[in-house]
Amino acid sequence: MTMDTKINEYRKMFPLLSDDIAYLDNAATTQKPECVLDAVRKYYERDNANPFRGVYDLSERATESYENARKAVADFIGAGSSSEIVFVRNATEALNLLAYSWCEDNISEGDEIVVSVMEHHSDFLPWKYMAEKKGAKLVRLEPEKSGAVTDEALDRALSGKTKIVALTQVSNVLGYANDMAHIAERIHENGALFVVDGAQSVPHMKVDVKQLGCDFLAFSGHKMYAPMGIGVLYGKMEHLEKMRPFMYGGEMIQTVHWDRVTYAEVPHRFEAGTVNVSGAVGLSEAISFINNTGWEFIRSREALLTKKAMEGMKQIPGIGILGSEKVQDHEGIITFTVDGVHPHDVADILGKSGVCIRAGHHCAQPLMDFLGVKSTNRVSFAFYNTEEEVDRFLNELSKVRGLMGYGE
C-alpha cells in the first residue's frame, strides 16, 4: 500500500475529515475516529448505569467499563497500578486538583514552587494561586527561546526551599520536547517533586511515567482522539494516598456521619460525584487506536508534515517562526507571526479558505511576554494530516500579506 492510500484509509476513519477543510489546529483538539464514537455509543446502548451505585448486573457492567478504561490508561503510560490513575475532565482539572490538594498540606510560608514561563495558563494559575494563598514563593524557570530547559536554568530556579516543580513536556507554543528524565533526576536530587504537563506530549509520543521519573502527570483525552470531558491525573501512590480530597460529595467517601467522615481509597477519593464513564470508555478506545496505529507511524508522519511546513514557511517572505530553527525541535507544532498582519486577520483569511489554524496567545501569556510578542498564529499537525493540506496552508499563507495591502 502506498503512503497516500494508507493515509486515506485512516482519514476515512474520521467522519469529520474531508477535503473541504484542512484541519491544522490539532494541538487545540484532535478529531475523533469512528471507533471512539462507536465505543461511546455502544456503552450507552448496552452498559449504561450509574457505576459503583447499583448491585444489579447493569451497574456492574458500567463499573467494569470504567475500571477497564482505568487499566488501559495505566498500561498506556506505564503506571505501577490502575489506582494511580485519577479520571478528571481534562489537564486543567488534573492540575487544579493537584495544586489545591497537594499544596494545602505540603506548602507553607517561605517554601518555593517552581514553574516555567512557558506553561499553559492551566499549569501556571493554580500554582500561582496556591503560592499566594500559602505565602510561598512562585519561582520562574526560564527556558531558552527554543523551549529547552538547561541545567543552568534549573540550577538558578531550584533551591533548598523548592518543594515542587511544574513543567510541560512539550510546549504548546514552541513545540520543544524537553528531556524530562534528566530534569526529573535533578529535581529529585534537590528533594522536590516533579509535575509533568503531558497535554501536548502524551498524544504524540510514547510517554512512560517510570522512564520519565515524574511524580505526577496530567493530560487531556480530547487532544488524543478521545471525547472532550475526560482527562487524567497520574500520581505515584505514595503521594496520592497522602493527599486530601479536592471535591466533596458522593462516591468519594467510605462512611459519612454527622460528626465523622472517612474518605474512600485512592483514586475514588478524588472522583466525587457520578463519573464520566462514556468518556473513559472513549479514551480507552482512543488508546487502542493509537496502539494499533503505532507510534512509529504516527511519529514519522507528524515529523514529515512538520518538516514540509517549516521548510515551506521559511520560503515565504515576512514569516517569523518562534522557537528553535531546527525542525526536529518542533513536535508537530509551529507558532509564527506574519510581518505587519495581526494574527486574527491571518487566521481569518486562512479560515475563509478552509484552512483551520489558531490565533491568539495560546493560553500562554507569560511566554508571549517572555518572547516579546503579543499574539501569534499556530499550525499543529496530527498524523492524519496530508501533504496536500500542508501545501494548501502554505499557498494561502503566501497570499496573506498581499491581501492585506503589502506589495510583493
Partner: protein, 144 residues
C-alpha cells in the same frame, strides 16, 4: 475555493495608512476599549467644543478590522455634533446586525465597507470596538 474576504481596499487601506492613529494633544476625553476575546485594544481621544467633535485620534493594537473600523469611524464623526455621532453609531450597530436599509448604509459612507462583517460573528466584536468606545464616551460627556 474562492477566497471570500471582507478585507477590501477600504479596510486594508485604513489599517495600513490610518489617518487618525496617533496621540491627540490636549484631548477633552480619553477612553480605553478592549476586546478580550482577541486582545484588540484602542485608546480613543476626542476634542469637543459646543457639542461638536472638533478632533479625534486613537492609538491601539489589534487586528485590521478593529483598527480600520476605528479609523473610519473617526474620519466620519470628526466635525459632526455629538447627536450626529450618536445617530451614526446607532446606524453602524444596526448595519452589523444586518438590519440597516441601503440608505442608512449610504449614510455611513466608508464605514459601509464593513457591512459584510455582519455575517462573521467572530469578527463583529472587532468591528464595533471603536464605536462602542465612542458611545461610552458620549454617555460620559452627557453626564459632564
Amino acid at each position: 475555493m474562492e477566497n471570500k474576504t471582507f478585507y477590501n481596499e477600504v479596510v486594508t487601506d485604513h489599517n495600513m495608512h490610518p489617518l487618525h492613529k496617533h496621540e491627540l494633544e490636549d484631548p477633552d476625553i480619553v477612553l480605553d476599549g478592549v476586546n478580550p476575546s482577541c486582545g484588540d485594544e484602542i485608546s480613543l481621544g476626542l476634542k469637543v467644543s459646543d457639542g461638536v467633535i472638533t478632533d479625534g485620534a486613537f492609538i491601539g493594537d489589534g487586528c485590521a478590522v478593529s483598527q480600520a473600523s476605528a479609523d473610519i469611524m473617526l474620519e466620519l464623526v470628526i466635525g459632526r455634533t455629538i447627536d450626529e455621532a450618536k445617530h451614526l453609531s446607532k446606524l453602524f450597530l444596526k448595519m452589523i446586525k444586518s438590519e440597516a436599509t441601503p440608505e442608512e448604509i449610504e449614510e455611513l459612507e466608508e464605514a459601509g465597507a464593513l457591512e459584510d462583517i455582519s455575517h462573521m460573528p467572530a469578527r463583529v466584536k472587532c468591528a464595533v470596538l471603536g464605536w462602542h468606545t465612542l458611545e461610552e464616551m458620549i454617555k460620559r460627556l452627557d453626564r459632564m
